[in-house]
Symmetry: C2
Amino acid sequence: MNKGRLIVLSAPSGCGKGTMLEQILKDESFFCSISATTRAPRENEIDGKNYYFISREEFRKLIAENGVLEYAEYCGNYYGTPLKPVNEMLENGKNVILEIEVKGAMKVKKLRPDTLMIFILPPSVAELRRRLNKRGTESAEVIEARVAEAASEIKIASQYDYVIVNDALEVAVNDFKAIIKAESMKTEFAGELIDEVIKNA
Amino acid sequence: MNKGRLIVLSAPSGCGKGTMLEQILKDESFFCSISATTRAPRENEIDGKNYYFISREEFRKLIAENGVLEYAEYCGNYYGTPLKPVNEMLENGKNVILEIEVKGAMKVKKLRPDTLMIFILPPSVAELRRRLNKRGTESAEVIEARVAEAASEIKIASQYDYVIVNDALEVAVNDFKAIIKAESMKTEFAGELIDEVIKNA
């Protein structure tokens, strides 16, 4: 069996990454990595589904043992990607998606240069602002802060391998699938295939 | 308008490249380069469609002026890819396909490293032999010579960017389209797109 591919998927808030992921994960060859965190579970959050909820001591032990692919401290809590389940899924032939922000993504790329780095773009920053406004849940100030953050994240997109413009959900999901399909046909992964074709010539 | 992409498509005889090309060329964003040759036109062959039929003097002049991307001499005649129509089509935003064999392909790659190099594989050499036999037009000897040549060409496939296994026509054509789509999303081509998204932030 072929090993799966490690995939980083990043997007500014409001780019529809969540909805895209929902569609992508209908295909069982994909698995979305679950982060570990030291913050307390919120109501309805399930351990091992939304997050692995662990103690600060357990998290520090993971860090010390190189057991996390990347981690960050945010509002006094640790958040990170435990390495073991990722490696197990890759060995089982699953493509493992890490849904992480740009700083964590750059750490993963450095540690694992063969990671497939995909960035989701909004059609435009104006459209992103419109989408964030449409939610109607945040103040104009918060929205402008998010827009500014998005613009600064988008500037890092050029350090990814691919960009997908999420204008229409179905098109964007198909674009994602085209990238995965094309990557599987790259000759760097085709050595065995070529040997197989030639065998018994 | 974006410039088109130069694409080399190679395949051993019997891999179904012709049928694949027919399907691909239904999409008007693709254009198949027409070779120039010094051999005489056969019955039903049309100048500017099957080949550009030119004299040895004209061909030598093209070579001297760097007017061919690659050329070879075969059975006393020149065959090659005239550069001018290729460049014009690329400027017009067309993806230009060069249907050439491995030696010519390697020359093009050297001259134009940004060429997208795609190799079509048969499902197996045994299947290739079966397909060549099925045609019923050639002797067992000729078929074995073709099979041996195919096996030696397939060994060069690893120097291409992508390999497509042509087991079922429709799947192979979709694989080709996935490669073209994915390539257009590579960040190396996305600089303008990113600028466009950020504009008016």
